[in-house]
Symmetry: C3
Subunit: 679 residues, 3 copies
C-alpha cells in the first residue's frame, strides 16, 4: 500500500499555524521572539501571507516583499517550512476604491462598500486580473525558496455576488446545463404560477426582491455559486502553477460555509485541508457528541481524495467569534489534535500563532498570547503536543481503510431545505446524518463520508439517511450496489425527487428503489414539536418524532410497526432482500435508540468490526490508519472520566515503544497511539 504524502519534500506531521509578521513590522523584537518560540513549541510549518495584500502591494503596482522575504528566510533557518498564501481573501482599500466592480452586489441589488473580508465578486475581470498578478509575483519570487512547502490558495472561499457579471454568468451556466428554455421550464416546473421563461434574459438570480419560490432555480443558483467559486480558484491556481508546477496547492475548506459545496472546491486542489472549530463545553454530555461530529467532517474531507488531508486551522485554546467562547480544558487540545491524525490528517495547524493587538480576532486563541512569552498553560500544551507529533513520522502518509460509508450530500441537503413541505423551519438533514454516524463512531468503525457522485462499489454497508434526491444515475447505482450484495440503510423522505427537485411520479421511493426496498410510501405525516408517535420494533417500543411515513409492504418484511395513531399496525421499519444484498428502511424519525441499535445489528450481520478488539466504553473510540503492513490505532478517551478497556493483541505504544496488552487504562482526554503488524 503506497503512502501518499502532503509533500514529498517534508515527510513529517506538520505543526504550526497562521503567522502574520505583516502586523508586527515595526516590532523587530516580536519577530525575533516568534522564531525562538516556534522552536520551543515544536512548530515546523507556518501559513504566511493570508490577508497580506495591503502589505505586499501597498499601492497599485508598488510591491514590498521585505517582511515576507525575512519570514521565509527566518522560518527556514529555524528548521520550518512555509505554506504560502495567495492574498485574495481581502483586498487593499485602494483596489476597492479604484475598481468598485470588484465589490460584491447583494441579493437585494445593493452594492457593498469596502470592508470586512470575503467581499469580492468572483466574476469581475478586474479582480481576476489583479489576483492573478499578485499570485504570479509571489510564485515567481519564491518558486525556488527552500522554505516553500505548498500553496494556501486564498482563505475560506464563500459567499455570492449578484452583479451584472455574475447574473450573466448564471445565465451562461444555465444555457450550458439545459441547452433549451423548454428544458429549463420543464425542470423548474415554471408553468406553476406562470413563471415560464421565453427569453434567457428574463432569468434573474433568487432575490428577496423577486423570485424566491422556485426551488430548482435556487438549487441551480447554489450550484452556480460553487461553480463560479471553483472557476475563480482555478484561475488563482493557474497563476501560481505557471511558476511552481510541482508545488501542491490546497485551500482551507469549511464545513457548510457560504453554502458552497466544499467537495467541489476540494476536488480542484491537490490536497484537502479544512478549518475545524467545534463548540466544546468541557462536559461529556455535550462534548462526546460534538467530538463525533468533528470526526464526521474529518472523514468527509478525507473521503474527497481518499488520502491524508490537512487540519489547516484550529484554535489552541478558544475562539472569539462564537456566542460563547470557552477555554479548552487541559488535555482537550491534544485530544482534538490527535483525533485529526487518527482520521487521516497529517497536520495540526492553528489559527493563530500570535494574538493580534487589535481588530476582529484580537481575542481569538493563539499559541502566543498578548503576554508574549512561553509561560502560559496554552503554550505549554502546544509545545507538549509538538513533541508528541515529532514521534509520528511512521504514520505520515498512511491510509484509512473503510468497509462502511455514510452518504451525506450537500446538494441533497439544499434540495430538501428548499422544498416547501413537512417541517419548513428545519428539515434536519445534517442532524440526521450525524445521528446515523454516531453509532459507527462509538463502535470504532472506520467510515468514509461520501457524496452521491462517489463510487459505491467498494463498501459492504452504506448508510444514506434522508436521501430525498435520487437522480436516475444514483437510482441505478444503488440498485446495482444492493443487487451485487451490498447492504443499504435508508430512511423517510428517500427517493422523492430528481436532481432538480422535480417529483418522481408513480409513487415513492422512486423507480427501482420501490423494488430494492420492497415498499410503497403513500403519505408522510408531520408531527408538531413535542408530539410523539410510537413504534414497536423487535418487541421494544420506540418514540417517533417529526416524520412518520405510511408505508405499504411490496415484498419487504416489517421489522416493526406503528403502535399509535390511525396508522397503528402499518410498517415502521422494513428489510428487503434484493439480489445478493439487503435494503433496510426506517419510516420515522427516531427520537431514541432505534438508529443505534439497528446499526449495531446490521454491522453484526455484515461482519463489520472495529480494528480495536476491546470494549469501547461510552466516550472511548478507536480509529486506525495503515500502510498495509502496520496497523496504527488511536485509542481516544473523549470523556472527562478515566476509562478501562482491554485487548487480546499485543501492541506497541508508538510514542514510548512499550508493549501494550490486556487491560488498558485511559486518563480523561487521553489518546494512546498503538501499532501492530497487520496479520
Amino acid at each position: 500500500m503506497e503512502k501518499k504524502y502532503i509533500s514529498d519534500r517534508f515527510k513529517h506531521i506538520l505543526h504550526g499555524g497562521d503567522y502574520n509578521p505583516d502586523q508586527w513590522q515595526d516590532s523587530p523584537n516580536v519577530l525575533s521572539e516568534d522564531m525562538r518560540l516556534m522552536k520551543l513549541a515544536g512548530c515546523n510549518a507556518m501559513s504566511v501571507g493570508i490577508f497580506a495584500w495591503a502589505a505586499l502591494e501597498p499601492r497599485e503596482g508598488e510591491y514590498d516583499f521585505s517582511f515576507l522575504d525575512k519570514a521565509m528566510d527566518d522560518i527556514y533557518e529555524n528548521g520550518g517550512r512555509v505554506i504560502l498564501a495567495t492574498p485574495s481573501g481581502a483586498r487593499p482599500a485602494w483596489l476597492s476604491q479604484k475598481y468598485p466592480e470588484v465589490l460584491r452586489t447583494n441579493a437585494d441589488r445593493s452594492k457593498r462598500l469596502h470592508g470586512s473580508r470575503h467581499n469580492h465578486c468572483f466574476s469581475s475581470p478586474v479582480y481576476r486580473e489583479k489576483v492573478a498578478n499578485i499570485n504570479r509575483r509571489l510564485a515567481e519570487r519564491y518558486k525556488d525558496h527552500p522554505a516553500l512547502l505548498m500553496w494556501h490558495i486564498s482563505n475560506e472561499y464563500g459567499g455570492e455576488c449578484h452583479c451584472e457579471y455574475c447574473r450573466e454568468a448564471f445565465r451562461s451556466f444555465l444555457k450550458d446545463k439545459y441547452k433549451t428554455l423548454d428544458a429549463l421550464n420543464h425542470e423548474w416546473w415554471t408553468a406553476f404560477w406562470a413563471h415560464t421563461y421565453t427569453d434567457w434574459s428574463q432569468i434573474e438570480p433568487p432575490s428577496t426582491l423577486g423570485e424566491s419560490s422556485v426551488q430548482a432555480m435556487k438549487l441551480d443558483w447554489r450550484r452556480f455559486v460553487t461553480h463560479q467559486t471553483v472557476d475563480f480558484m482555478k484561475a488563482e491556481i493557474a497563476a501560481v502553477r505557471e511558476f511552481t508546477p510541482t508545488v501542491p496547492v490546497t485551500t482551507n475548506l469549511m464545513q457548510q460555509f457560504g453554502d458552497t459545496d466544499a467537495r467541489e472546491l476540494g476536488a480542484a486542489c491537490d490536497i484537502i485541508s479544512w478549518d475545524s472549530y467545534p463548540a466544546w463545553r468541557g462536559n461529556d454530555e455535550n462534548d462526546i457528541v460534538t467530538d463525533a461530529g468533528v470526526a464526521f467532517w474529518h472523514d468527509l474531507f478525507r473521503s474527497i481524495k481518499h488520502r491524508p488531508f490537512m487540519l489547516m486551522e484550529s484554535t489552541p485554546s478558544h475562539t472569539n467569534w462564537k456566542e460563547y467562547n470557552k477555554l479548552k480544558r487541559p488535555g482537550q487540545h491534544a485530544l482534538y489534535s490527535l483525533q485529526a491524525v487518527a482520521h487521516g490528517s497529517d497536520t495540526v495547524q492553528y489559527f493563530q500563532w500570535r494574538k493580534s493587538r487589535g481588530a476582529t480576532e484580537q481575542f481569538h486563541g493563539a499559541v502566543v498570547d498578548h503576554v508574549g512569552n512561553e509561560h502560559t498553560r496554552v503554550f505549554r500544551e502546544v509545545a507538549s503536543l509538538g513533541a508528541r507529533l515529532a514521534k509520528l513520522d511512521a504514520i505520515v502518509g498512511t491510509a484509512t481503510s473503510c468497509r462502511t460509508a455514510l452518504l451525506y450530500d450537500y446538494d441533497n441537503d439544499w434540495a430538501l431545505s428548499y422544498a416547501a413541505g413537512f417541517q419548513n423551519a428545519d428539515k434536519k438533514v445534517f442532524e440526521t446524518a450525524k445521528k446515523h454516524y454516531f453509532p459507527l463512531w462509538k463502535r470504532g468503525i472506520n467510515t468514509d463520508v461520501i457524496g452521491r457522485d462517489d463510487d459505491l462499489s467498494g463498501y459492504d454497508l452504506i448508510v444514506a439517511p434522508m436521501l430525498y434526491t435520487v437522480p436516475s444515475a444514483l437510482e441505478d447505482k444503488l440498485e446495482e450496489y444492493v443487487r451485487n450484495g451490498g447492504t443499504l440503510l435508508c430512511t423517510y423522505t428517500t427517493g422523492m425527487v430528481n436532481e432538480n427537485g422535480l417529483c418522481h411520479l408513480g409513487g415513492f421511493p422512486a423507480g427501482k428503489l420501490k423494488e430494492v426496498f420492497g415498499i410503497w410510501n403513500e403519505e408522510i405525516d408531520t408531527l408538531y414539536p413535542g408530539e410523539f408517535n410510537t413504534a414497536e420494533v423487535g418487541g421494544k417500543e420506540y418514540r417517533a418524532t417529526d416524520y412518520c411515513e405510511l408505508l405499504h409492504l411490496r415484498g419487504a418484511r416489517a421489522l416493526g410497526t406503528y403502535t399509535s395513531d390511525f396508522y397503528t399496525g402499518m410498517p415502521a421499519v422494513t428489510v428487503n432482500t434484493y439480489g445478493k444484498g439487503k435494503a433496510y428502511y426506517i419510516a420515522f424519525r427516531d427520537a431514541g435508540d432505534l438508529t443505534d441499535e439497528l446499526t449495531g445489528h446490521i454491522l453484526e450481520e455484515c461482519g463489520i468490526t472495529s480494528d480495536f478488539d476491546g470494549t469501547l466504553p461510552y466516550g472511548v473510540t478507536a480509529h486506525s490508519r495503515t500502510d498495509g503492513e502496520t496497523l496504527f490505532l488511536f485509542l481516544e478517551n473523549h470523556a472527562t472520566t478515566p476509562a478501562v478497556t482491554q485487548t487480546a493483541h499485543t501492541w506497541h505504544n508508538v510514542e514510548s515503544g512499550e508493549a501494550v496488552t490486556g487491560e488498558i487504562s485511559l486518563k480523561p482526554y487521553e489518546v494512546l497511539i498503538l501499532a501492530r503488524k497487520v496479520q
Copy 2:
C-alpha cells in the same frame, strides 16, 4: 323564504378544485386520467386558469387557448362545470420585462424584480390595460360555452405598492375624503411632533424610511390599499361583464390577508368565496377551538351578503406552507367540508386537484397525489364525500337565520393595533372576538359576524368586544339599538376614538355610550404577561389578565367587583337598563370562564336557543339552514371521541332518509344531517 343560488344554472353543491392542465400539456395521459378520476371522485366543478397567463399568452399578443378549450370541453362532457379564472394573479415574465412599471415598489422604495406572485401594482395603467385585454379575450371566447359557470376574478388579492402612481392615488384618495388640509391635519392630529402638512404633495405613505408614527395616516393607508384593490378588481370585472353580463363573479377572499378589508372586496362581487386553511393537529385540545375559529370565518363571509357562499379552497389532506404540515386524520376532511355547508357554503372546493411535479406547492395536499391513481386514502375520502354532497340538493340555496350577531371589524382591529399604548406587542382584538364567539358556537347558536357599518336592527343580541373605534354614526346606531330593546355586550377599550383614531374627549366610553352603559372608565391598567388580578362575579372568583379598567358607576349596576390590587371593590362587570334594552360591560380581560358563563346567562335572558334541542357535549355543535319550510340541521362532532345526545323532535336523516329521535350517537368527527318541518 326564497332560495338564493350560487348559479341559477346548476343547483347542486359544487365539489371540485383548482385544476391546472396548463402544467401537463405534454402529458396527454395525465389529462385523460384527470377526467376519469374526476368522475370517480364525484367532482362537478373545477377552477381553471388561475395563474395560466403565461400559457394563454406566451408572447405579447400571441394567444394559445388550446389547453383551455380542451379542458372546458372535457369537463363539460364529463358532467362538470368550470369556474373560470382571470389570470392576473401572476403575470408572464415578458410582461414584467417589457413594462417594469407593473412591478411593485416596496415601502422602502426599492423596486421589486419579477417573481413569485401577487406582485403587481394595482394602479399601473399598463397592468390594468393588459389585464383587461386578457380578461376580455377569455370572456369573448367562452361566453357561450356551456361549461362556464362563473368567474373567479384573479386570486387572493393582497399586498400594496408604493410607486409614484400609488402615492399620487393615495393623495387623491385623501383629498376626496378630507377636502382640505386643515381637516386632514386635525384628524391626523399633525400638530404633534410638528407634522402639519402645508401641501398635499408633502404626504407620503407610511414607510420605515419616513413616517411610521401617525396612526391616522396608517389607517388611511390601509383603507386606500383596500380601495385601490377594489378599484382594480372592478376593472377586471367590468372587462368580463362586457361579454358575460349575467355570469356571476367572485374572488377568493382570505381571512386577514395583506391587511385588506375582505368585506369590501367581497361586497363588489356577486358571490362571496373564501379559502380556508386551519391548522388542525388531530387532538381535541387544539382542534375544537380551531374549528370554532373556522366557523367564525364562515359566518363572517356569509354575513357579507346574507346568502350562501363558497368554500373556494381547502386541502383534502395537508398544506405545505405552514411551519408544520400535518395530515388530516381520517374523517376530518368530511367534517370540515360539511361544517362549511352547515354554515352556509354551497360548495366544497379544493386547492388542488393534482399535485404539481415541481415548484412551491408540489407538496401541497391534492385529490390526486404524485402516485397518480385513485388508490390512496385521500382520494377515497374525497370520493366518499362527493357521494354525500350529491344527496344535498335540497339544501342548496337555503338561508341561515340569526338572532345573534358578533361585531368584528377589520378597521377597528387595525386602529387598535396601530394605537401606541397598553400592550403594544399584540392588542389581541381578533383573539378576543374568537373568545366571545366560542360560547355561541358551542351552544349551537346561529350567529352573524358583522362589521360596524352593518344594520343592527334585526338582532336581539349583539356582542361587540373591544369596540375601540366608535364613529358618531355607530354611537347613534348602538344607542338606538339598545333603546329599542336590543341587548349589547361590550368590553374594556370600548368607545375611545373616532374613525380616525382621534380620542373622544369628556371621558370613556364616548358620548351617549356613557349613558347606554351607565359607566365612566377612568383608567386602564395594563398587566404584564403572567400577572393576574381577580374579580368576584356572582359569588365566583375569576382571573383578569392584560387589561383592567377602573370604572365608576353612573347608573349601571355592578354584577361583579375587583378583589385585588388598589382597585379592589371597583366594578368589574356591569349591566345597565337603557330604554327597552340592556347593556353589559366587562371591564377586564377574562382569563377563564366568565365570558362563557355570562354569555350563557345573557342568551337565557334573551330567550335565544339553538335550533337543536338536545344537550351539546364539549366538541359537539349544531348549526342550521332553512328555506322557511324545512329546517336542515348539521349535528357535528368535532371531538376524537364518540358523543351521545338526544332530541325530543322527530327528524329525518337527509342522507339515509331514516327517522331520528330520542338518543343520538355520534362517532368521532361524524356529521349528521337532519331535517324537519318548521313548526
Copy 3:
C-alpha cells in the same frame, strides 16, 4: 457651602411639564382650563414649544408666535415660569420638502423620507442655518419676557447620519485625532485583514454594507457622533445666547439613547436635565431593584456637574411606548418624584401636561386626561405632590456629599460591547455596574457615578467594575489614587485595552495595574448560560457565572479561591496593599451575594457610613443633601409593605415641622423628609 441654583431668579422646586398649547389653538376653553388646572395642581414651570416649529413657522419665513405669546403671558400671570424649547427636534414638512439634505442618510446609504422626529442631519449647513434662525427669533422675541426661566435646547438628541457631509466630517474628526494615516492604521490595527488605509478618502463609516469588524473604527464613529451632536447643540446654544447671555440652557438627556455619550452633551450645557422612564410593576421583586437603577442615573447625571440637576420628564401615571404600560400604584408617583429630589434634583417635571387627542403619544400618561378635568386619581396625586414640593424651598440648591464613587463609562461600555470574544451576545457592562451600585444604594451611601476622565482624588472608595479600557492617563490616575490611600475595587476584564481597544502587551491588567492589584490574569474562561463554577471566600461558597479569570498572585493576598473545574485553588478574590491604599479584585462574575457582602466589608474597612444611623430594611434607603449647616435626609420606603426603623438623633420633619426620634414607621411607598443640624 454655597448653594447652586437652577435659576437664580426662581428659588423653588420646579413642578410642571411639557405643555403643548400649539395642539389646541382651536379650543380656547381647553387653554383656559389649562391655566385653572395648573394652579390646582401646584405647577409652577411649564416646558413650552418642544416640537412647535410647524406652528411657529408654518411656511418658510412666515412666523406666528401668537399661541406662544399667549402661553408665556398666561403662565406668568398664573404664577408660573416657562422653560422655553428650541424646536429643532422635529422640523416642518416644508423644510424637508424644499431641502432634502436635512434628512438623514442611513448606514445602508438609503435616504430617509420626512417623518417621525429626530431625523435630521447634524452636519447639514442648511439645517444648522434654519435652526439658528428660528432659535434667534425665539430668543429675540422673549428675551425680556418675565416668564422666561431657561432654555430647553431641542429634545432628546440622538441618532446618526451617513450623508456625504457627515462622512466628510468623520474624516476631519479622524485627521484631528490621529494627524497621520500611519497613526490611525496602528491604532485601528488595520494590518489585520488587509484594511490598511492609504488615503483618508478610503475611510467610510461603519456600515452593514461595508466595514463592521474594525472595533476601533466603530468606537471612533460613536465618538464622532457624540462630537457632531455636541457641535450641533453648541450652535443652537450660541444662537439663543446672542440675545439671552444669562439665561441658563439645558437639554433633556437620556440614559443610553442613540448611543451618544450623555456626559459630553451635558457638559456643554449650564444645567443637567434628564428624562426618567423606569419600568415599575407594582411588586417589590421588580421595583426595588428598578428603583435603585433610577438612583444610579440620578447620581450619574448629578455627578456631571456636581450640582443640582433637573428631572425634566417623567410620567404622572403610565407610559404608552413600552411593551407593557402599567399604571403607577397610588403613592409610587410621590415616591419616585421625591427620590429624584433626594438625589439632587431641584425639579419634578412631566411629560406631559395634557394627553393629546391623536398621534403617537395620545395614550401617554399626563396630569390632565382626555376627560379634561381634575377629578381623576392621577390629578389628585400630582396636586398632592405639588403641595409637598412647595414646602421644600430650604432644600433648593443644596449639595450631595459623597466619599464613594462608582466608575461607569459609556466609552468603556461601547469598547467592550464591540470587542469580539467571551460572551458576544451581551457583555453586561451596565448590568454589572448596577450590581455593584445596589449594595451602596441599599446601605444609604451617597455615591457619585463618574466617568474615566473625572477627578478621583476626593474619594475614599472607588468601585470600577469591568474597567476594560485603561488609557495610560487612567492607569496613572488609578495608581496615584491607591498609592495616596484610596481603596479601589475592580473585577474581571480590567485593564485589557487602551482607549482605542488595542490590547496592552505584557499581561493583564495593564502596566502599573499589575502592581497595584498584585496579580497577573493569564486567561479568561467563558461559561455558557446555565453553567456555574464555585469559589470559596471567607469560608462561604459563592457561584460564579459567565466569566472566570485564571489569576496568579504577584504580591496580592487571595481572599478566596476557586473550588471547581481545572482552576480549583487559583485565586478568585484578591486584595493588595499598595502605597497607602488597597486594591481589591474579583476574578469572576458573581451570581450571588459576594458583591454585596464584599462591598459591605470594604465600606466598614473604609469607615464609610450612611447619613442615617438606623437600620435600613430591604427596600428602605436614605439619601441626603446638605448646605453645610443642615443635613436634609430623605428616608424612602420603596417596598409595598410598611417598614420600621429607628434613629438616635432628633430630626425635624421638614414638611410637618414635628420632631422625629426613636422608632420611625414608614408606610408603603412613603418618603419622610427629615432635617437636622450638621454636627
